[in-house]
Symmetry: C2
């Protein structure tokens, strides 16, 4: 048992970002992989680790924490990390944090809400299939997402407007990658496509992305 325990589903995009950060930073951990179909995030036992009952969460020397971006900041401080993924320079860290707060509603939400409505709810919760009318607002939000992400990447090349890729790019990449199921189409968005290929080529990112799609196949 490591001093750091990480809980989550391999099909959780934020969990992949936490695992990638640990792997890129040399932080050892024990991964407790939940079974998505058993909804192990809804047990009373897990509510003691994350009262919000979302994944991922960690236990580090008896201290429990949730929300992936808060976990990254806590681990960086606790393990005295100062690498390109989450550097100590407060100006670069400021930009990364600004991205990670903006990420929820502007990058993650347009993709995950669409994924859930189009695939997961009809498949697992008996929700009706989307119709042209009910799908329209999701498409509209997705088009805004394409525009915003293209604009940022054209302006600065990396999502947090940093000189090198950071954990912010990995958070954004994991959402975009999972959107393959909708499917997201980067053919019409070459700036996003080039960035996506660059982040995907990071071995610590690619191996987790492959594990995600391996797990999705089994659903």
């Amino acid at each position: 048992m490591s001093e750091l325990e990480i809980y989550g589903y391999i099909v959780s995009q934020p969990l992949l970002s936490v695992l990638a950060f640990c792997n890129l930073s040399g932080i050892p951990y024990t991964f407790h992989e939940f079974d998505y179909l058993k909804r192990e995030d809804l047990t009373e036992e897990y509510a003691k680790i994350n009262p919000n009952q979302q994944v991922p969460a960690i236990i580090h020397n008896g201290y429990n924490l949730w929300e992936s971006a808060a976990i990254i900041a806590y681990l960086a401080d606790s393990y005295n990390i100062d690498n390109q993924w989450y550097p100590k320079d407060p100006k670069v860290r400021g930009r990364i944090n600004a991205y990670l707060h903006w990420h929820h509603e502007n990058i993650r939400n347009p993709i995950t809400s669409y994924l859930r409505a189009k695939i997961y709810r009809p498949k697992y919760s008996g929700a009706p299939q989307l119709t042209t009318e009910t799908e329209a607002p999701y498409i509209e939000k997705l088009n805004e997402f394409y525009l915003k992400l293209t604009w940022i990447l054209t302006d600065t090349h990396y999502v947090a407007r940093t000189a090198q890729p950071t954990i912010a790019d990995i958070f954004a990449f994991n959402e975009c990658a999972s959107g393959k199921e909708i499917p997201l189409d980067f053919g019409m968005h070459p700036v996003i496509k080039a960035w996506h290929c660059e982040i995907e080529a990071i071995p610590e990112v690619k191996i987790l992305d492959d594990a995600y799609f391996e797990a999705v196949k089994a659903f």
Copy 2:
């Protein structure tokens, strides 16, 4: 001119949280108050300060940053702040950061999206008034908000599950206070009401809340 310049509308809830943090932490600043009706956040000049063209943003010794929670973390590091509002203890800071990431979609969004749809869009953008049918999803999200906030406060008394109020409570309070216009009704939610009164009694919070409603009156 101070070394820290803060830009925003006094009717921006996140701006109020940044100002309150500076006032509570003894950080001197110059406040550049924008005129909401002139949409000064949409000027080319402001895009150089915050490319996302949202408020608040800061310039600190030539460095520009946006996203209120990222600004708090940056200022705390830059000014070596270690008070109850954003303490250095990584375990408490972890909880505050976890709340601030969760805040966007669970506390801020249900209130601001409702406020905009019910009051601001019909008044300033010519959008139609909400009907029983179009208002229903907003009411549903608001009811979820009441449930979640009551549950957290019953469990722990403060929103970030800390022993004392922190900047997280101020972020949550500013959203709840602005919801008076919808109106939010805390009469049926005594746990929220008690917490709301406690945070409102902090003089640095109250004075900004009063300024917010003074500005709203003039609209």
